[in-house]
Amino acid sequence: MIRFDRRAGMKVTAAACLALALGGSASAQNVFRFGLAMPLTGSQALYGQDQVKAAEWAVAEINKAGGVNGKKLEMVVLDTQGDPQLGIQAVNRLVSVEKVPVFITAWSGVVKAVAPIANDNKVVELSVGANSPDIAKLGDYVYTTFPLADIDLTAVAKYAATTMGKKKAAIVYINNETGIVAADVYKRDFTAAGGQIVAIETYDQKATDFTGPLLKVRAANPDVIHLQGLVSDTPQVIAQMRQLGLNQPISSYSVAYNPKLIQQIGPAAEGVIATSLAPGVDDSEAVKAYVARWTKEVGREPNGLPYTQYLYDAPYLVAAVLKSLDDKKMPITGENFRKEMLAIRSFELPLTGKTTLGDDHTVVKPVYLMEVKGGKWTHKATVGK
């Protein structure tokens, strides 16, 4: 019989606390540090891990090129599992123990949950990848370098109404925050551009059969359908749409933009339009080299390619601000980081191009529309360049 007792439990906890305290106090001097809180485990890890890898590559490249004014750039990575509570613990650790002036995080729930910590402690929170419009209003110290939901949805809605000349649209969305917000934005912008929304239907997150909502959409006879789902249901929905005779063009967002979609639903994917918020391999040599490196070193393309591009660029942005602070001999605090970041405003980033931080704490970026033609993803248009 194992003799576990209360004391053993206490000892373990005490040891853990001690280790943390010791680890935190040993902060090196000639190193610039910042934090990264991402889902390394859990259901979102498939994206989170690739994004972390991209950021790690960037940090390595920066250090290879001499670091920040000769000093090493160090990134402290902690796991959030995409869960708000764990995100709070991770960011608390970054702020109180690791004492970073800035940290990068993603996933709307986490971004929102840790905002009070950033604001209270005057540490800059960079949201890179989450797209809930609420993020713009989370406080003085919360900024996003990734365009929020209204950017790409507005682009695709306007494009469908004006350039594609579609008069009637239907919206099919998953019943969670992403879906609900997206439906609102698309409806607003499609109608503003002169179109008419003939059907808005939603499906439950756990659903596997979408017949009901899709039949209602079919009955409304739209010219174009916008789908806002998650990576786990989008292929099924599109497949079922085609099976039920819905052959209109289907627009979706970046979650649909992955090569596996074509493999999974074959001919049903023809005519699917997805938005991408980052330049593709045909738009930029740097991106081409980046993807080639992924294929060579990891054996596949990254999950959520555009998001990884933003995560690759984020350390560059951080490094640029830190360099500027170091040049001006200003102390490296969160408050100064924020000041300097806003002073610089515009950054030329390797994989996503020019990024300008707006007064509303968001960024505006061009939207790349990709379409499946002849069984491959092709570049259809760029909106907002």
Partner: protein, 315 residues
């Protein structure tokens, strides 16, 4: 678009997609009926079933029928292990219902983590494609997946009910379900019956996941969500009523989809719980609950072993 076409289409596709739900519900309900436990470890077995089929088809590149056989063998082995190593040990110690709940949950979580470790967290399907060709019957779209799925399910259910009705083991299972103590007195080997029950449930689970995985994507955590539906169907169908659970699963699927004609789609998911609420509140006496037992698996009530409470078990 006439309403009849819509209704018929909904009816057809709901019937087709209810196949796997029926199989999961029947497996869950059967185990509950005979062994009196809420087997949340079924999610773990479901995960094992799916990933075995996935490995055989996509990694070993064997044909589908071979994958099915291998999957069945592995699933039945897993069920066997679960029963003999897991549940039997728990029964012998006379643990409480809550203990069993935690145990089964942990088993499913454990299996999910193993799957995450080996297969990562990208959604997978058994075949590389999930697009099935469609034929139009009248104006109803019939997918190439529908008929084989329905056929297999009906065959499995028919075989099962025949087994329960006409074989001795089937009769023994009902006997044990009604009154294990009494059944033992009549010389029925409870252990064997429990094992057979778990194996049959395993077979249903295997078939169910094979159907599901050829139509939709699966993540390591998907099984637990699918279980929710099975649990709700079991409760609505009536505890102790396997046929009821099957029928409930079908009807729930159809009604959920058909409800779109009368209520806004946001409330579809919620409908399930409304039914559950009605079933619980308005038909409590209509549901047959197993008689109260002192402890999970035993029939005596007067001897609590040191350190454990005789909880009012029922499952």
């Amino acid at each position: 678009m006439q309403d009849t076409t819509i209704i018929l289409q909904i009816l057809w596709t709901s019937l087709a997609t209810s196949t796997y739900y029926v199989l999961f519900a029947v497996a869950f309900a059967l185990v509950l009926k005979v062994t009196r436990l809420f087997n949340f470890a079924q999610a773990g077995v479901m995960t094992i079933a799916f990933y075995t089929a996935f490995v055989v088809v996509q990694w070993l590149e064997w044909p589908a029928w071979a994958a099915f056989i291998v999957m069945m063998v592995v699933t039945l082995t897993a069920s066997y292990a679960l029963e003999r190593i897991g549940f039997e040990a728990l029964r012998r110690r006379g643990v409480s219902v809550m203990f069993v709940f935690v145990f089964t949950f942990m088993v499913s979580e454990f299996v999910a983590y193993v799957a995450m470790l080996i297969f990562g967290t990208w959604p997978q399907t058994i075949f590389p494609t999930i697009f099935w060709p469609v034929t139009l019957v009248g104006e109803i779209a019939v997918s190439g997946w529908d008929l084989p799925a329905m056929g297999a399910t009906v065959a499995a259910l028919a075989a099962f009910f025949a087994f329960m009705r006409f074989t001795r083991t089937g009769q023994f299972m009902i006997g044990v379900a009604d009154n294990p103590g009494l059944a033992e007195l009549y010389g029925i080997d409870k252990r064997q019956i429990f094992l057979v029950t778990m194996l049959i449930a395993g077979a249903f689970v295997g078939l169910g996941m094979f159907l599901y995985g050829t139509r939709a994507q699966v993540l390591p955590q998907t099984a637990l969500s699918l279980m929710l539906f099975a649990v709700v169907a079991t409760i609505i169908g009536g505890i102790g009523n396997v046929a009821g659970a099957a029928i409930a699963a079908v009807i729930l699927g159809i009604v959920q989809n058909a409800s779109i004609l009368v209520i806004p789609s946001e409330w579809q998911g919620f409908l399930l719980y409304i039914f559950l609420f009605f079933a619980i509140v308005f038909f409590p006496n209509g549901l047959k609950l197993p008689r109260r037992r002192t402890r999970f698996g035993t029939a005596t009530r007067n001897t609590p072993p040191a350190g454990d409470a005789p909880a009012e078990t029922q499952a």
